[in-house]
């Protein structure tokens, strides 16, 4: 049976393929962090974390953690050669000042004009924003990785966000469990979709019109079930 949707690992793998050699990248807390595991061989990518580290590497072995050496998700990290520490104002100067090539974030909703909602779903509970509102402004490209629909099947790619906004017109590309979609001039432009999925079926689970500009490539991702 053909795969009907990508796993999270496969979405992360696909996003990782687009990160060019030499890029400075911030991966949002949680799901986006997984992208680093799929960094293609031979590419030098420098990862930034909001709490003041540039050039960090994989998690240490369990038991080897130094809890003064963590990322923004408060997970223990290690350092690659050429790493640097700096304070929070310098860290967000990197973010806000346009020095990062790419930020990859999760999303509750992405609108066709690039609006992003990813920090809270309503007014209940304890709100928490972290660095998301800063990251969506400043990085040269802001990508989102997400399931194509919510757990109860509602579109996450929408005409207009209904959840509280993180940023306006900030997202440039979305990697979902079904497709790769660019945002251009207020529209979703479909770049890749699962080969077995008809465009009509994809449109049906997308909350706004998917435009086509040139060819639609097949979204091809290796089986990562070992991951």
């Amino acid at each position: 049976m053909a795969q009907t949707k990508l796993t999270n690992a496969q979405i992360a793998w696909r996003a990782a393929q687009d990160i060019p050699d030499g890029a400075y990248v911030n991966l949002g807390i949680g799901f986006p962090e997984m992208i680093a595991t799929f960094q293609p061989e031979g590419r030098d990518v420098v990862y930034h974390t909001e709490n003041g580290v540039l050039g960090f590497g994989a998690a240490p072995e369990e038991g080897q953690e130094d809890w003064d050496l963590i990322n923004a998700g408060k997970k223990a990290i290690t350092l690659n050669p050429g790493a640097a520490f700096f304070h929070h104002a310098d860290s967000f100067a990197m973010v806000r000042g346009g020095h990062l090539d790419l930020a990859v974030l999760g999303a509750y909703q992405v609108a066709q004009n690039g609006d992003l909602a990813n920090w809270r779903v309503g007014s209940k509970g304890v709100p928490a924003v972290g660095g998301a509102m800063d990251l969506v402004h400043g990085a040269k490209n802001v990508a989102v990785i997400t399931d194509h629909v919510t757990k109860d099947g509602k579109p996450k790619l929408v005409e207009t966000c209904t959840f509280p906004l993180t940023g306006l017109g900030c997202v440039t590309r979305v990697y979902t469990s079904l497709a790769v979609v660019d945002i251009r001039d207020g529209h979703f432009v479909l770049r890749e979709k699962l080969a077995d999925m008809p465009l009509e079926a994809l449109q049906e689970v997308t909350g706004a019109k998917l435009h086509v500009d040139g060819t639609i490539a097949d979204l091809v991702v290796p089986d990562l079930s070992g991951n």
């Binding site: 909001e50 709490n51 003041g52 580290v53 130094d66 809890w67 003064d68 050496l69 963590i70 923004a72 408060k74 520490f85 700096f86 304070h87 929070h88 104002a89 860290s91 967000f92 973010v95 806000r96 509970g125 304890v126 709100p127 928490a128 924003v129 972290g130 660095g131 998301a132 509102m133 800063d134 402004h137 400043g138 509280p164 906004l165 993180t166 940023g167 306006l168």
Partner: protein, 239 residues
């Protein structure tokens, strides 16, 4: 010039009721646990200082540090970017019961507001939060075709910070990612109190390697083997 004091008790002895207190650290890294606990001891013994406004990226974790301050009932308000954590029960409980106020600030704006206070910049413009509910009521303005939000400096009466090396003139270095908000808070408070893992003689820190120059530090105390907040949380310690 000797800014050192002998004990953490002495270091925090004059923090007043109602003070605004910046506390360094991000999660558990760079958190001045001993200074915080000395402040809790004082509150338990004397009922003071209470009604504090605490500025930190987070709102405490587990049962130690800022979480223990909240549980002790010393904190009237938190200013932070991310009050959520793996165990933020102390804040959550107080917040949902309406016993603590929250000013939520995007992390980069929080850092820049603190830096602005230290640098004498009363207000600045940032793209962050434009068009979101966290910019409601704030002045906005267009520069070069983009929209920005005006933010004010954020000052404090006291900053509690954690350094690695310190000399008696107040020059400091930090350990790894424990740097985070500490150097900014040192600049932004009326009185900056630092705990350091090792006191050295002036000159013991190379002038090119000083991260926080002594002019920003008022008082410092050696805590030779400081506790690490994350380790305490994982051990389930309750202060």
């Amino acid at each position: 010039m000797d800014k050192t004091v002998s004990t953490v008790e002495e270091a925090v002895a004059d923090i007043a009721d109602g003070a605004t207190v910046m506390i360094g650290g991000f999660g558990g890294s760079g958190a001045p646990v001993e200074l915080i606990h000395a402040l809790i001891d004082r509150f338990r013994a004397t009922g003071s200082p209470g009604q504090l406004t605490v500025i930190n990226n987070n709102a405490g974790n587990g049962g130690i540090g800022i979480a223990a301050m909240i549980k002790a009932g010393m904190v009237a308000k938190m200013v932070c970017s991310f009050p959520r954590s793996s165990n933020a029960e102390a804040f959550n409980t107080a917040y949902l019961a309406g016993n603590i106020a929250l000013e939520l600030v995007p992390q980069g704006t929080l850092a820049e507001r603190i830096r602005a206070a230290g640098a004498g910049i009363p207000a600045f413009y940032t793209p962050t939060a434009y068009g979101t509910e966290l910019a409601e009521g704030k002045q906005v303005e267009e520069f070069d075709g983009h929209m920005y939000v005006r933010e004010r400096w954020l000052k404090a009466d006291v900053a509690l910070i954690k350094g690695k090396l310190g000399d008696r003139m107040g020059n400091l270095t930090y350990r790894l990612a424990g740097r985070n908000f500490n150097p900014l808070m040192a600049m932004a408070a009326e009185t900056t109190i630092a705990q350091v893992s090792e006191l050295v003689e002036p000159g013991g820190i190379e002038p090119e390697q000083v991260v926080t120059p002594g002019i920003f530090v008022d008082r410092l105390v050696e805590v030779a083997v400081p506790q690490q907040e994350e380790v305490l949380v994982r051990e389930g310690v309750e202060y």
